[in-house]
Amino acid sequence: MNENHQHAGNGHSGEGTRVEPLSLWSRWVAGDPLGSEEMKQLQTALREDLSFRQAVMNERRVERLLRFDALFAQTEAFFAAGVLKRCREGATANSPGDSAGSNTIPNRSLSQPHPIEINVRPRAWRDSQTRRRLADRKLPARLALAAVALLMAGGVGLGWWFRAELSSGAGAIVKDDSQHVSPQPSGDLVNEQIVREPSPNLAEQLIPEKQLEPAVDLTHQSPDTRFSEGERQPPVFATLTGIKRATEGGPFSVGTTFGDGDIRFESGDWQLTMTSGAVVEVFGPSRLELLSDNSLMLIEGELSATVPTSAQGFYVLTPSVMVIDLGTVFDVAVHDQGTTEVEVRQGRVAVSSREPVTQQQWHLDADGLYQLAFYSLPPSSKSPESQPIASLAKDQSGHSAGAISLDGRTIKFNDEIVFATVRDQVFQGILESPEHTASSWKDFVDSTASQPEPSGSVLINGVQFEFGNWNEAILAQHRLRQLWMPPYGTGQGVGQPDQRQLPQGVPPGMGRGSTGFRGTLMINGQERSFESAEQYQAAVRELLGPAAEFGFRFDWQR
């Protein structure tokens, strides 16, 4: 690719006569008042110097794209609601542009946000047990099992590459920013340290097994939006080169070529060969759109891509991320529009959030962090103000690195349980009370970043929970909550009973309310005694400030 932009902003364009008009232009677009002489000078430059004009118009275009990129997520729901409202009212512009500026995006009263429920469920990569792939590869499988297994494995601080650190105010719970995976297995230590005497059986008693709920497939709830398939016109972006198990048949046969537009595969496995040479296997039911001869958007479903070096630059968009191939074999799955999973089986890929505010970005590597789950709210439910993003990457041994972002503030976690606990609170919070959640998150992130890592312990009825940093403190809190609040976790918790750290001798269920909840909390040398859950929470808040929000909330009233 071209190198011209490697040193963008170095002032290449400032040669000769253009310097002066350019600075005038800069002031003009910034809204600085120009003198009439300056105004005239700028106008003349624009009229007479074509290359200057072209340059500034291109520059404006980028400006608008950047602004759009930054605000898209926040305005998406408003925009759609406005369109529907206009359609219903039949109040279209007979004279286009007349209403421009007056009533931009109508309020969203027409289309209330969809009622949303967050369900955490260990749903498998769909039917992966039974699926046979075209290339006869080993499948991503055993996910429900893995969920349990991973919960039992501790987190570990893994190195990773993370763009959001650039953000001001971005907090970092994990202060490990090395660029490479450091497979040092410290994760289990974290957990063992916190709770002595684990008792898995108790956990089973305390926490009911989660109910699996049937998946809701959006494509089956709305009428078919296909309007064209099997493009007859050039350009050809891809050709169908293989079909397997397409029991329901379909309009496609081997050799069918596709241009842009939606393609929907209801069932079966389909092999598409992009004109660039990349081979994409799509597993029905899936819906995708070819964007070019070397890129596509996976709207829903699963695919596996094998990208030869000749197809360098191949990428896959999903509703939430962009996956750029860096010479590899990888799988992508999109679930219910909100979650994207990526797995690299060979080589490397770069995955970045399509929410520009957060700019979460990962490099996945078959030998290192090779799996990524990316969580966002589905587009139809996006809160117009704030869009939380969470992602969790894992390496082969199950060690994980996670990040959660909201409004440009990001925190990293090295423990999956901590990640899931905070993620659920943020997602739930943003749906229930977006403003409060957004401002709490800001305080939380800023506060965790600005104060020292909490070190200390909670001694409660003879059971001690120790912690030495934010991750561990949240984890300790999680354990406490599980012990004393058995119902917690059945709805929005981490999904599975956490079987590793329950101390023996703790009677089940006694923590509901305040009975028997007494002990001592020690954080960074300060000690507080408490005789009820409320007092305990108050003590945590006193010692940690706004940081005692996400991951620390006890929610005794639920």
Binding site: A8, M39, A55, D260, T339, Q371
Partner: protein
Amino acid sequence: MQVALSDSRIDVEPTDRESSIPVDQCENPRVLAFEEIVRLYQRDVRSYVRRYLATDDVADDLAQEVFVEVYRSLPRFEGRSSLKTWIMAIARNRVGSWLRQQTRQIRCRTIDIESDLVQYQLAQWQDDNATCERQSQHRFADGQTEELTLLRLCLQRLKEEHRELVQRFYFEGMSAEAIGQEQGRNAGTIRMTLLRIRQALAKCIRNHTAKGSDDE
């Protein structure tokens, strides 16, 4: 290679999609499909309109009109092109007529830079279309997302300090003044740097799309 992609995860799902739409709309089943269409293509349409319209509000207003027209014309859509191509053609026409209308209004007013720019935009729009006709493909209009994608790619190629500047200014909404204060530079310098970054980005985007296309 053993694989376990998922853990406990959040699945967020609209529990009842239909219920969010008032009953009177449900009488027409295409409303639901239409909602999906808006969701799928608003990014393309809105960013396309922004290529030529300077004000966000006005651009979104026009983009909404595009979708209203799509809604009304949907029964007449014959599937000769892809849906996206068809929608983008509507967007193209809307933008063209808006620009023409604006330039007509402008002639009655005092000439100023703002007005000149609208005329240049119209010329740009005509140029773009002509170029696309020549290549018999509406690359950008059809795949506006691509331009945003390229923008991302190009952003990654910036020097880190410049990328950070873009991040702060656009994505975190910091003012040039605030950034300047932080870095001990004045706001004008920050704005100028941003402008040069944008020029570099524009060049980068063009270099990636100009493969084989005419340069102006």
